[in-house]
């Protein structure tokens, strides 16, 4: 395949790709993102291929593996085209039925269709599923349509049009920066700094060479939006970076991706290679005279390397420790040169804005938070997965409509937004519209979009302790308040969870949190105390119960709970004895059992299997 040497070559090749695919030809697209792969998507694909071989239909029906569709709870998911029938919880055993449904009369396989848990109704199309109906998937929409390892697919859905537009029109860099400014795009990495303003600051810096970096470190536990975008649509990020580099006169770009994302790294490398082969990246892109190359650098297991100055240090081969700002990377960044660092989702938004216009983007969202936000909805929620929604949607909609509510009919207690740097929003604020300003006002933070749902069985003191443990481990240790503060906070929280807390501890927690927030060198330390601060603000009663009454209201903190068996309810079925890992339950069959609290490790296994609900936690 010879290199595309002009915009015209590109458009001609795009037409060839579009014509090369008959849109009426049945195509079975199976989600092969990391989540669905873990659920067996590759077995499904193998099963489909085998079935097609057997029936001699391999050239009549295509099988395509795509990136993450977002509805991870119901994986593996797939869509049968051209009718767009959405199947969930697919296994390889369903292969024959699926192939049959794609051919004979095209009647869908009933049992694989999504079933509304309320009405019992079966839903045919993806966009009618309540999980998807309220979403606006401008970044993730193409994940379910393209094979990330095939650049032709990306071209078929309009890929590289934005790049061709700016290169073909020789759009001045300032105009592109202005367009990004007008759109109101804010950095999706967490802080939400206006991207256009950052880009303008770089443009006003005369030093060369200039660099751009894509921050794909995604360290927040439970966050996998960036991973799914890199796995499923790597070209969208590449295109965004090329447009940005052209606008900012950057010569080299880096994608810093955490080593724990092997599939994302692989798909990124494949996409980069293909883009270079086709002349869309590298020397003299599409004959425009503009040259730009992208290198991939992998992280080495440090959450702190998501912080921009630590990331830069890591790329330079130094220890990943942050440096004080100012000077900011736009002034002195990689190798001391002007550098722009943006998050994966920010870069992926750029081609959309160039294609559809700043006004289109600014029309989505709220007054100060424009566009869509991608959240990973996880925790005690029915519909776990990735969700892309316009800014300003309420928490209530996110949890009860898109998320399908809390499993087992439990009560919502809090939502942790923004990962370990964010804070807990209590259920009383359920009608809060989600945007940067509202979340900051409530004491939390948008962060990079992690949303962990917690119910009445979550202990908020334990949550604070858990996050403190994480942050203590991940602190780089350079500056004193963060290194010492995370340790001290964790120690105090552990004591409180063990029932050894004192009333004075709350004041110490507040003071330590304050000094960490005000004096830490980088964002990790400055936001490290947020979980403690928000849980103290909204759930002080839980802290007081632990301290004054030595009681854990959620019955989680192991030192404060006792497992016992109610003798009048126990029917002696012996089910608990079978699952008890420490042989702590004694009793003869058909006679009521007892738990030896000396051996009991409070794992909860007996609680789960007891039918008559005789196991009590107090």
């Amino acid at each position: 395949m010879p290199k595309l040497e002009s915009i015209r070559d590109l458009e001609q090749f795009r037409d060839v790709c579009l014509e090369g695919r008959d849109s009426n030809k049945p195509c079975l697209t199976v989600c092969a993102g990391s989540g669905c792969t873990a659920s067996g998507a590759h077995d499904v694909i193998a099963g489909l291929n085998k079935n097609l071989e057997k029936l001699g239909l391999a050239d009549k029906i295509d099988v395509k593996s795509t990136g993450c569709h977002g509805f991870c709870e119901k994986g593996p998911v797939m869509i049968v085209w051209p009718d767009g029938i959405f199947y969930n919880r697919v296994t390889s055993r369903d292969a024959a039925a699926i192939v049959a449904s794609a051919t004979n009369g095209r009647k869908p396989v009933e049992k694989l269709l999504y079933q509304d848990p309320q009405t019992g109704e079966r839903v045919l199309h993806e966009n009618d599923v309540p999980f998807y109906a309220r979403q606006q998937r401008i970044l993730f929409g193409n994940n379910g349509r393209i094979d990330p390892r095939q650049i032709e697919d990306y071209l078929r859905v309009g890929g590289y049009k934005a790049q061709a537009k700016v290169l073909g029109n020789k759009t001045p860099g300032e105009d592109i920066v202005d367009e990004i400014k007008k759109s109101g795009l804010r950095g999706r990495g967490g802080a939400g700094f206006p991207t256009g303003v950052k880009w303008a600051a770089l443009k006003s810096n005369p030093a060369t060479p200039k660099y751009i970096i894509c921050n794909a470190d995604e360290g927040d536990p439970g966050a996998f939006m960036d991973r799914s975008l890199l796995e499923g649509n790597p070209h969208s990020i590449i295109e965004g970076m090329i447009i940005g580099a052209y606008a900012l006169d950057a010569t080299t770009g880096y994608v810093y991706v955490r080593a724990e994302y092997p599939l994302a790294v692989e798909h990124l490398r494949v996409a980069l290679r293909q883009a270079e082969e086709f002349g869309l990246l590298g020397q003299n892109i599409l004959g425009s005279g503009f040259s730009f190359r992208i290198k991939v650098v992998q992280g080495a297991g440090a959450f702190v390397c998501g912080e921009e100055t630590a990331l830069i240090a890591s790329i330079e081969g130094r220890v990943g420790e942050p440096t004080p700002r100012p000077p900011f990377p736009v002034q002195r960044g990689l190798w001391g040169k002007p550098t722009i660092i943006n998050n994966v989702k920010t870069w992926a938004s750029v081609p959309q804005i160039i294609n559809r216009g700043a006004d289109w983007y600014a029309a989505i969202g709220t007054e100060r938070s424009k566009g869509t936000m991608v959240f990973s909805l996880v925790g005690k929620i029915n519909n776990t997965g990735l969700v892309e929604v316009p800014m300003g949607i309420t928490l209530r909609e996110m949890i009860y409509i898109i998320g399908g509510g809390i499993p087992k009919g439990k009560e919502l207690k809090a939502v942790q937004i923004g990962g370990p740097s964010g804070g807990c929003i209590p259920a009383s604020l359920i009608d809060l519209p989600i945007d940067y300003e509202e979340l900051t006002k409530a004491g939390s933070m948008m962060g990079s979009g992690g949303m962990v749902v917690m119910d009445e069985t979550t202990c908020m003191v334990d949550v604070a302790r858990y996050f403190m443990e994480f942050l203590e481990e991940e602190s780089c240790g350079k500056c004193f308040p963060c290194r010492e503060g995370t340790q001290r906070l964790r120690e105090i929280l552990e004591r409180i969870c063990a029932g050894k807390g004192k009333e004075e501890d709350l004041e110490v927690l507040t003071d330590l949190a304050w000094v960490m927030k005000e004096t830490s060198l980088c964002g990790l330390g400055q936001t490290a105390a947020n979980p403690v601060l928000t849980t103290l603000r909204y759930f002080k009663d839980e802290y007081l119960a632990h301290i004054r009454e030595h009681r854990c209201p959620a019955k989680v903190c192991k030192e404060l709970i006792v497992y016992s068996i109610e003798p009048t309810v126990c029917d002696g079925c012996h089910a608990c004895v079978a699952v008890c890992a420490t042989d702590a339950i004694l009793g003869e069959k058909k006679k009521s059992h007892q738990i030896d609290s000396g051996k009991c490790i409070k794992c909860g296994a007996c609680l789960e299997v007891c039918q008559p609900k005789a196991v009590l936690v107090s």
Binding site: P324, G477, R483, E484, R488, L512, T519
Partner: protein, 245 residues
Amino acid sequence: MPKLKINGISVEVERGTSVLDAARFLGIPIPTLCHDDGLTPYGACRLCVVEVASANGNGRTKMLSACTLPAEDGLIVQTHSAKVEKARRLLLEMYVATCPQSKTIQDLASKYGMRQERLAPKHDNCIQCGLCVRMCEEQMMAGAIGFAGRGAKRHVSRPFDMTSSLCRQCGACMYICPVCELRCHGASAESTLCNGCLNFATVCMQSYDDAMCFLDPCHACEIGGPLRSDVPVKLSAVKSAQQEK
């Protein structure tokens, strides 16, 4: 030449000057632990934080380390605002709890009026100020020691924790270390906080007739002890005053 305001005073300094140096030029003292004029600024101890308002005047302030902050046009800096004083006291409370045996830290605590002892003492022998590392690298041109590990496990060491052939045993690292200078074991040796500022009871005077101290004078000695500069103190008077207590 950038022109900035420190505590309301306008000052013009050469480009590249830090706010710490600009403040010192004006005679305004800012406490430091990890700073030395002969070494590159590090910004790790956070004791030199000052409250900085941006030139565009939207009212918001940031707390930044003065040693690493370059003086820029229009910067408005407060070195002794309520926020800064509160931050210094809390940091010093944490420092005393981490390293109560350090004279440098105890003196700073006394000087800045830090009197609380709410945290359990740890008796670490390193605050990771990095002075030893930078001293070895930049002044002694050896680079035999460095930081290893992350977070709570971070520590100063030699490559692979092995004896280093680069180390000439010059002792510069010990010389520059703020923790290596140990506090005197005075009257309140058991307590975490020396509280010299409150004592005015110089330690030596309780056991000896003359000052028996080779340490640099600390706050207590300077205010109430034999090294007071304003009033000549009669040793016998001090001793009898103590005996009355």
